[in-house]
């Protein structure tokens, strides 16, 4: 377990947070239907950094974007979510 620095609550135990999915797997409702399945189901799944959507479920309940290393669990950045946080 490690600490996740919530922009609203400060550093909190990782167990308070829930992982949702990666930012690139969010389907654009206005986008082409043909690519939706691919976006929804496939992942880069790198053995390294990826941008992930998490929620501070047992805290302020805010949605966050974590740039996190899947091998070392180092967190490079935490951003509050908003349209600007998604690619």
């Amino acid at each position: 377990m490690y600490l996740i620095p919530c922009p609203h609550c400060g550093p909190r135990a990782q167990a308070e947070f829930t992982y949702e999915r990666t930012t690139d797997s969010v389907v654009d409702p206005a986008g082409p239907v043909g690519t939706a399945m691919g976006t929804l189901f496939t992942r880069a799944n790198p053995m390294g950094m990826d941008d992930e959507i998490w929620r501070h479920t047992y805290g302020c309940r805010a949605w966050l974007v974590l740039t996190r290393d899947r091998l070392t669990h180092a967190i490079a950045a935490v951003r509050t979510i908003g349209p600007e946080a998604l690619p």
Binding site: A15, M37, T42, R43, N45, M47, R70
Partner: protein
């Protein structure tokens, strides 16, 4: 290959055990092979064995970045069963269970398959309805399944908390009597030895770092021991499918997660069957050495670190103790974890890829050990003939795009929200 036998043991005992040979050669990579299997886990070794045994291919190599048995095949909780509700799943795993039943004879290696019964507990009327449905689905296809009452469950596992105010009250169970456990390392070693005896090269400390392409075809692999040519290449790397496929430019419906397990000190027999509860995702069995083996949920977030978080172990222990209070008296010996491919419908992927000569076997989630023989058998068929084995057909990679997912637990594309 020196065949193992009772006579050989006696001869060894008299002769000071000097006649034993290494179980497999330490092969040097050749310039090229007809088939290269990436990953020397149980599935990769089984695939190589059936390629040689069933399809007569001898110019085959298994490339393993670490050592044989160091991956999930040596880290799992050894449960073997075929009690799935969905037809493609129970047909596939039942084919595997039948192979398990003769595996020690087939490989001339004792894999210690122990059909002690796989017991799935029901904690509510709703649970019992689901279990009955599952049992019926299995029985319709001739697979053994039996619904048990509370009293029958208590007879099999007297240490379960059967009281009405139990944390997880027990209403009954579904049992598959032919299910059980097997010795995981022995499965890897047995397949490795048998494949080697048929001429397969098992090459350890050889990591695949890239694919050699000729246009849209794969013609070989780059490794830490140089470039090796191949007629066909089969990815078979358990939790590492995502980034290995990525080297070929393939994105998979897979996310890698850590799964943990633990074992207690060895005690006298106290758990007879394999006790599972799918509602709370906890499972308990006793190893042949006497340790109580337990497992639970994955971390539920992507991870390649082969260590998990303690809260998950804590959760698994709390559930196990609630089911079987006597377990609270035992000391934990060790806990470990493995990296597993979580596919987005919970089912494996076996078959062709959009890239010619490149094949994929992965996405086993938490349940691939029991599949080892069936996975190897059907994947070998795919690699040898270029077309999927009928039993593996439903598990094609393109099923997600076709909307033909095989979703046993109904978790959709978010397995972590199960």
């Amino acid at each position: 290959m020196n065949r193992y036998s009772a006579f050989g043991l006696i001869r060894g005992a008299i002769g000071g055990h000097k006649h034993w040979q290494p179980a497999w050669r330490d092969a040097e990579p050749r310039a090229s092979y007809d088939v290269i299997v990436i990953g020397g886990g149980g599935h990769g070794l089984a695939t190589a064995y059936y390629l040689a045994k069933v399809h007569g291919l001898r110019n085959v190599a298994v490339l393993e970045k670490g050592w044989i048995g160091g991956g999930n095949v040596g880290r799992n909780t050894t449960l073997v069963r075929s009690n799935y509700r969905l037809k493609p799943l129970h047909d596939f795993f039942e084919f595997g269970l039948k192979l398990w039943e003769h595996l020690s004879d087939e490989l001339n290696y004792n894999v210690m398959f122990s059909p002690r019964g796989s017991l799935v507990l029901g904690h509510s009327d709703a649970d019992m309805t689901v279990l009955a449905q599952r049992g019926d689905a299995m029985a319709c296809d001739g697979i053994d399944a039996e619904l048990l009452t509370r009293d029958q469950v208590a007879k099999i596992e007297p240490l379960l908390d059967m009281s009405r105010d139990a944390r997880f009250p027990i209403e009954g169970a579904l049992i598959q009597r032919r299910g059980g456990t097997a010795r995981h390392d022995a499965v890897a070693w047995g397949y490795a030895r048998a494949a080697d005896a048929l001429g397969v090269d098992i090459i350890q400390k050889c990591e695949v770092t890239g694919f050699v392409r000729d246009g849209d075809r794969v013609t070989g692999v780059e490794t830490t021991r140089g470039r090796i040519g191949a007629g066909r290449v089969g990815i078979c790397v358990a939790g590492h499918s995502g980034h290995v496929a990525d080297m070929a430019g393939l994105r998979l419906p897979i996310e890698s997660q850590t799964l943990q397990a633990l074992v207690t000190e060895g005690v006298k027999p106290m758990v007879r069957s394999v006790v599972q509860s799918h509602s709370i995702h906890c499972y308990i069995s006793q190893s042949d050495k006497g340790g109580i083996v337990m497992g639970g949920d994955p971390d539920n977030w992507p991870s390649y670190a082969r260590r998990g978080q303690p809260t998950i172990v804590e959760g698994a222990i709390a559930q196990a103790i609630a089911l079987m209070p006597a377990l609270s008296r035992l000391r934990m010996l060790r806990t470990w974890s493995g990296v597993t491919d979580m596919s987005f419908d919970g089912s494996p992927i076996i078959g062709t890829t959009p890239i010619a000569n490149l094949f994929l076997n992965g996405g086993w989630c938490y349940g691939g050990f029991k599949a080892t023989p069936a996975s190897g058998f059907t994947y070998a068929h795919t690699l040898a003939t270029g077309t999927p084995h009928p039993l593996a057909m439903p598990f094609a990679l393109d099923r997600f795009a076709r909307g033909a997912t095989i979703d046993e637990s109904g978790a959709g594309p978010l397995p972590n929200h199960r």
